[in-house]
Homo-oligomer: 284 residues x 2
């Protein structure tokens, strides 16, 4: 792997091994449940990865697969069951859900202490408003983890973030702001010329849109760190990456690698949250 590619594989592997060791030393067996309702390829792939790394770290993984036509009321019943089940330390509801189910209503009812995805309002509140997160959503969490790993002090840094999603982007900019960074928050509608000027002078550029090759090599400088958050679009389930990796990588700068290893980092953060949930539930 080229020197300027951030070795996400190594970072993720280290995290998995640390957690594996800690679980072994503590002689515990945390348990998580994954709820899968909408059985599309993308969701199945995510779930498989979560299962793989849960097993690797000695976490019991239970998949609850419901039919797509399950009602919101029935799903809520399952959520309450999981909230009350002392043998379950954390659980995820794989998003997106079918259209007849109000995802906000589901998320609101997840026990705050078992919310390893960090989507519950109180957890988001702690993350976004108070900069005192209990469970941080996994994608912003791995981005912050990379900065920690690379010993990048965010204070005084100019960071351009391109995107507008609720799960990745909004918690992320607030986490960056809490580190006293200066943020340029662009979206797909931002004037392209203006955006180019800003990315060109940025220390860090983070892209999470659905526009392929939005960030071109001539839009950054040689020292810019590029974080590309590959995402799938709900409508077509295709994988999008937003940075022109091939051309950017020729320059002298850091960039996250093409999939799948950034997604491994997302899963690593989830596994980290599981251990945290277990500890929170088992200490007084």
């Amino acid at each position: 792997m080229k020197k300027n590619i951030i070795n996400c594989k190594k970072i993720a592997k280290n995290i998995y091994n640390e957690i594996k060791t800690e679980i072994k030393e503590l002689k515990i067996k945390p348990t998580i449940v994954a709820i899968l309702v909408w059985n599309n390829e993308s969701s199945k792939t995510y779930i498989k990865q979560k299962e793989k790394w849960a097993k690797y770290t000695n976490i019991k993984f239970i998949l609850k697969h419901f039919k797509e036509k399950i009602s919101e009321k029935e799903l809520l019943k399952e959520i309450i069951k999981l909230n009350n089940d002392k043998n379950v330390n954390g659980y995820i509801v794989q998003l997106p859900l079918p259209k007849h189910i109000n995802d906000k209503n589901i998320i609101k009812n997840i026990s705050q202490l078992k919310d390893i995805d960090g989507f519950h309002p109180i957890n988001q509140w702690h993350t976004v408003i108070w900069s005192n997160p209990i469970f941080t959503p996994c994608t912003p969490k791995w981005i912050m983890e990379i900065f920690k790993e690379k010993k990048i002090n965010l204070k005084w840094k100019i960071i351009t973030v391109i995107g507008r999603s609720n799960i990745v982007w909004k918690p992320l900019i607030n986490l960056l702001i809490n580190k006293w960074a200066t943020i340029i928050a662009c979206n797909c509608d931002t004037n392209q010329e203006y955006m180019k000027k800003r990315t060109k002078e940025s220390d860090i550029v983070i892209v999470a849109t659905w526009v392929t090759n939005l960030l071109k090599a001539d839009m950054i400088n040689k020292k810019t760190i590029v974080i590309d958050v590959w995402i799938t679009k709900k409508e077509d389930w295709k994988l999008y990456w937003d940075a022109d990796f091939e051309n950017i990588v020729k320059k002298w700068n850091l960039i996250t690698p093409v999939p799948w290893w950034v997604w491994q980092l997302t899963v690593a953060m989830l596994i980290k949250n599981v251990l945290k949930a277990y500890k929170m539930q088992n200490t007084k």
Copy 2:
């Protein structure tokens, strides 16, 4: 008043009169309670303004003044009482609270439906993450109201926001982002030269720091709209305004006026939330 000064007085007065008319037509008497614990000059001034405009619009205003040494537990009891009191439509806990009381704990326990300040986690979640606010905090709310009043379409606008507070600033940038604006989020630590370049090219600059005259006339262009959110600092209770009003106003641009009328707008937003709360509680 000069043409380029935003007439906050007029905007606030219009809102008060609209609410007064609606309350009269609906033949209702909404009731709010203000909890005052820390009896400093600034809090007293705020409370007096809230009382004045509640009375003006025919809203019953009850002040509950507790001793500074009240325990968190006792205060929580009062909160629960207000949550259950069917005669109370909304209430505010005047911040800041004395240091021995955990304000987060108090805010979390305010009934979501009576939270006219918009500080409750679920309300913040709706505002910040889902851009579907039930109660928006009053300062970001009046800033958005000014844009609506002045018919300023925020899409494609370049907006520099200088500040970092939880109550004003974070909900605000998220509200602006939801309108597809491009945001430059600076704080007091942002490199001054860099900040000047950004403010100079901005369509709108919003300042809410504690640095007097941070935004000077040579930092903006002739068309920049300046929103100065005058704030008090917890430590010294002094009033800070961040824009060099005298010199900026000589240029050809819009600016919010020196106090008190922007604060009147804050109170107007609170009164608006009271009517909303009443309606929510009285419709099925």
